[in-house]
């Protein structure tokens, strides 16, 4: 049996007791990648030699970190020193990161092995990885379908046993949506829980790094490791990080759960809707008190998101000008010409669309009507959440309106944007949300459930997710 079928937590204990060697684990994973990635295309860069070398060193080490010898995949917008970090963009195609992201430092401190950098939508803009400048990643459950996005490569790698777990980033659903579409657990932590230093910024006030894992326990382990205050990120929080793994094993106490009023589920996939109600029923049997709730401000969440995120992106992406690093079009006579040609050739269509959107929204004369209004809407959404959390501990929603869709099915950008309709609100409010696989469609595609909690209530999210995971036994059908 290949070592790749173990969960991260199982691998950790096998390695800790030295029943297996890191080198064996890495070898098995590289074999898996060799066999599968030609079809799935989850990785932009595989760090085979580097990973093996590191594994040998770890096998020799006496004192080792928690993740010693565990192969992890990183979304290619996380900076890894000395390793190409492309953001799946032509503009950074040959960019070798000169420093490590804080999360990478933290993983390496625990002796994790970075086995590769995964594909994504260019600059994390998209919900399918079809916006990658290089190639589209396939859903391991059905190669004709997308893995979701933008952390699609990270999700596909873990779902197909090409990594024990991975990190992604989530700006409007980019961890949770691919986790749902690939049958994984994915967490978007509270804004500020995980340092963003070394994450290529898309929308700074919304971006969070989080894990994509096979189990809730794996997710809890990784979140504890990557979380915590970082002096290099002024938006990072000083909130202490509890031992999530230990906390989640404790018995569920209060179980007040809000579920969405039926009108909010209009137009979504029938299979997804059915699974949602099925899970709610299960929770009722577990002793949950269910409250039906309406969140009227969510009607404006996508619109609000598509003002704020592109506005910030238009500014964040201004640094890719060909002057200091990255792609430069050299056939130019003036600065301006160089900028225009470099950016025209370096960015893909979706990135350009969002830069234009954001530039427009911030322009004088439009700023108040767009950006300021969106910022107000954002406060309204947060307020509505806070009111809900006065009554309940959790809000449950489907993670996505539908399961994995066919590659090429959403050529209209607006149709693609709708993939995030249940996920963006948590980013706008800055609160944590986790997606957990709860079942399958008739075609055998995974379906995710989203659990939203209050600020820094990750512990609670894991606890409930862990309880549901035990009941639905998703992985047994695997």
């Amino acid at each position: 049996m290949s070592l790749t079928s173990f969960t991260l937590s199982e691998l950790c204990s096998l390695l800790e007791t030295r029943k297996i060697k890191a080198e064996e684990v890495v070898t098995d994973y590289l074999k898996e990648i060799e066999e599968k990635d030609k079809k799935i295309s989850a990785y932009i860069t595989v760090l085979g030699d580097l990973a093996l070398e590191k594994a040998k060193i770890i096998d020799q080490k006496k004192e080792r970190g928690i993740l010693a010898g565990v192969p992890l995949a990183l979304k290619d917008n996380l900076l890894t020193k000395g390793v190409r970090t492309t953001c799946a963009s032509r503009i950074l195609q040959n960019f070798i990161a000169p420093y490590n992201a804080t999360v990478v430092e933290k993983l390496e401190k625990e002796d994790a092995i970075i086995i590769g950098k995964t594909n994504m939508d260019e600059f994390a803009m998209g919900s399918s990885t079809e916006n990658s400048a290089f190639f589209t990643t396939k859903n391991p459950w059905d190669l004709k379908r997308v893995p979701g996005g933008s952390s699609g490569g990270s999700a596909a790698a873990v779902a197909s046993n090409m990594a024990a777990a991975s990190l992604g980033s989530d700006t409007g659903g980019s961890i949770r949506q691919p986790a749902a579409l690939c049958g994984l657990v994915g967490l978007k932590p509270t804004y500020g829980l995980v340092s963003r230093y070394g994450l290529v910024a898309f929308a700074s006030s919304l971006d969070q790094i989080g894990p994509l894992t096979r189990t809730v326990e794996d997710c809890a382990v990784l979140t504890k490791i990557i979380g915590g205050f970082d002096a290099k990120d002024s938006t990072s929080s000083c909130e202490p990080i509890p031992d999530y793994q230990k906390e989640m094993m404790k018995k569920l106490q209060s179980l007040k759960i809000a579920f969405l009023q039926e009108n909010m589920l209009e137009g979504i996939d029938e299979g997804v809707k059915e699974m949602y109600y099925h899970t709610l029923k299960l929770l009722e049997q577990m002793g949950a008190e269910l409250y039906e709730m309406d969140f009227p401000s969510w009607d404006y969440a996508l619109a609000c998101y598509y003002i704020i995120a592109p506005s910030e992106a238009s500014s964040n992406l201004a640094r890719y000008d060909g002057v200091r690093y990255g792609y430069r079009q050299t056939n130019s006579q003036t600065f301006k010409e160089m900028y225009v040609k470099t950016r025209t050739e370096g960015f893909g269509p979706e990135v350009k669309r969002r830069i234009l959107l954001g530039t427009f929204a911030l322009s004088s004369g439009y700023y108040d009507a767009y950006y300021v209004k969106a910022a107000k809407t954002r406060r309204l959404i947060t307020q509505e959440f806070m009111e809900a959390f006065n009554k309940v501990d959790y809000i449950l929603t489907p993670t996505t309106p539908e399961p994995a869709f066919l590659i090429g099915a959403k050529e209209d950008p607006i149709a693609m944007y709708l993939s995030d309709k249940f996920t963006v609100s948590a980013n706008l409010a800055g609160i944590p949300a986790l997606s957990l696989p709860v079942g399958w469609t008739e075609e055998g595609l995974p379906i995710g459930l989203q659990i939203i909690g209050n600020f820094f209530q990750e512990s609670r999210l894991f606890k409930l997710a862990f309880a549901i995971e035990k009941k639905v036994k998703f992985r047994k059908q695997n």
Binding site: D233, R319, Y367
Partner: protein, 485 residues
């Protein structure tokens, strides 16, 4: 021209580079003159994924200035991004403040021709500097522009003055006073040539007695007090002439051309900017507590006015001297240091007001770069006082030597034999020789012609190359001459 019916309305915008050890949002050093691109990191070089972290020292400096100009310090201020593309702007935006600056509504009292006037200060923003484009001076400058990012991220205070200045003289006085304050607070070195203090102006013309403002122009590139004065003078006359000719003033940005002595419009493309300001999402709002403000208050140094009064009182020096000496905090420190050691404030002041300031002016340097230490100047003053050298020798020989060689005055006196001859035996010997060589004057003196005494003293001085103590020579000579009687 009918210029007496018009008056200019001038507002100044000052950029002061703060003297923090590190940059505004990263730990890089701010050392001036380091090798190009040696003071950079992911943050100030605008690498992907890098994030800003605010330098508390810079905030403290901004608060210092705000306190001194009595501005309202905002407990809650917000950083904003000012977006524009330029090769020396690494992130494609400058982090500055826009809607919510750190302080607003300050004021500064100036005095021109004995008339006091208060000029309002609209706001103080804390912001980062850009890098530097090098268009000239490299081998292939004709085809390439080089970039140096050492300055990128250096903290600046942007001080926006209200349009309440009504003459070039007032403008210069305002800027001078501002520079003195910045230097006193030791938050900016005030060096306009190196660009650590920069000034832009806006100017409009109105008929005297009218309160409405005319159309203004913005004038850039005013990197000295002289240029500021000249540019405002020129622009005032230019706008008056336009109005007199019935033409309209165009709202535009103009550059001061010091070679031609005129302002001329920048190409309109260079100024058509929409900066798309929005709150910087990478930085939380800046919260300044009352406690922080009172801590800063305790560290405020004596103001120029306070120092002036104290120097007059404590050292009994003239008002004029005190005013000059307090024009910079370092100069005043130099004076106090010198005066304390030599215990002769009047002489210390005289030396600094004349010799020292003259040298600084000629060498175009500040007191910090003055080659002679206060201790050494004090020693020179003491040597004169103890009559170990003469004032003339001190000024003509010793002081210039000290400037050049950095040697102590006493060493120079020893090595070059510039000490005064106060040895009576030596002087006696010289006198005898002089009398021998000049028998006629001796005869005349003995006949009662007292005036030849001066001639003989002169001869002795000539013989000693001026080193003899003149009083001693006169005394000894008289007694020797009298012995012939």
């Amino acid at each position: 021209m009918m210029s007496q019916f018009y008056e200019p309305v001038i507002g100044l915008e000052i950029h002061a580079q703060l003297l923090t050890k590190t940059k505004l949002f990263c730990g890089c050093s701010t050392q001036y003159g380091s090798p190009q691109n040696s003071l950079v990191c992911p943050v100030c070089f605008g690498l992907p994924g890098a994030l800003p972290v605010l330098n508390e020292e810079a905030v403290r400096m901004a608060v210092k200035l705000a306190l001194v100009i009595n501005a309202k310090i905002h407990t809650h201020s917000v950083f904003a991004r000012k977006n524009y593309f330029y090769p020396d702007l690494p992130k494609g935006y400058q982090i500055t403040q826009f809607h919510f600056p750190i302080a607003t509504e300050g004021a500064l009292e100036i005095e021109v021709n004995d008339i006091k006037k208060t000029i309002g200060i609209e706001r103080i923003n804390l912001e980062e500097d850009a890098g530097k484009s090098i268009h000239e001076g490299m081998e292939d400058s004709s085809e390439k522009t080089y970039l140096d990012f050492n300055r990128s991220g250096v903290p600046l205070l942007e001080i926006v003055g209200k349009p309440e200045i009504n003459s070039p003289d007032e403008a210069v006085e305002f800027l001078q006073l501002f520079r003195t304050i910045l230097q006193y607070l030791e938050i900016c070195d005030g060096n306009m040539e190196e660009g650590s203090l920069r000034c832009d102006a806006n100017l409009s013309i109105r008929k005297k007695g009218v309160t409405e403002l005319g159309v203004k122009t913005e004038i850039k590139n005013l990197n000295s007090f002289r240029f500021l004065h000249k540019a405002l003078e020129f622009e005032t006359q230019r706008q008056i002439k336009l109005l007199e000719d019935g033409k309209a003033v165009r709202h535009e940005t103009r550059l001061w051309d010091s070679r031609r002595g005129e302002t001329r419009p920048m190409r309109s493309k260079e100024e058509a900017h929409d900066y798309r300001y929005f709150p910087e999402p990478d930085l939380p709002p800046l919260i300044i507590t009352e406690e922080f403000i009172s801590q800063v208050k305790e560290t405020l140094p004596e103001s120029p006015q306070e120092k002036r009064a104290r120097l007059i009182e404590e050292y009994q020096i003239p008002v004029y001297d005190a005013k000059v000496l307090t024009s910079s905090r370092r100069l005043a420190d130099f004076f106090e240091h010198t005066a304390r050691i030599c215990q002769n404030p009047k002489q210390a002041s005289n030396w600094i007001m004349r010799e020292v300031l003259q040298y600084l002016k000629e060498a175009n340097i500040s007191i910090d770069q003055f080659p002679i230490q206060a201790e050494d100047l004090a020693e020179l003053i003491l040597l004169i006082e103890k009559k170990e050298t003469s004032l003339r020798l001190a000024k003509e020989e010793i002081f210039p030597e000290m400037l050049q060689t950095n040697k102590k005055a006493s060493d120079i006196v020893k090595i070059k034999g510039l000490g005064q001859i106060s040895d009576e035996q030596k002087i006696k010997a010289i006198i005898h020789q002089v009398i021998e060589n000049n028998p006629t004057p001796l005869k005349q003196y003995l006949e009662g012609k007292q005036q030849v005494l001066g001639f003989l003293v002169g001869q002795v001085m000539k013989e000693t190359k001026g080193k003899a103590n003149p009083q001693l020579v006169k005394k000894t000579l008289t007694s020797i001459l009298n012995s012939y009687k």
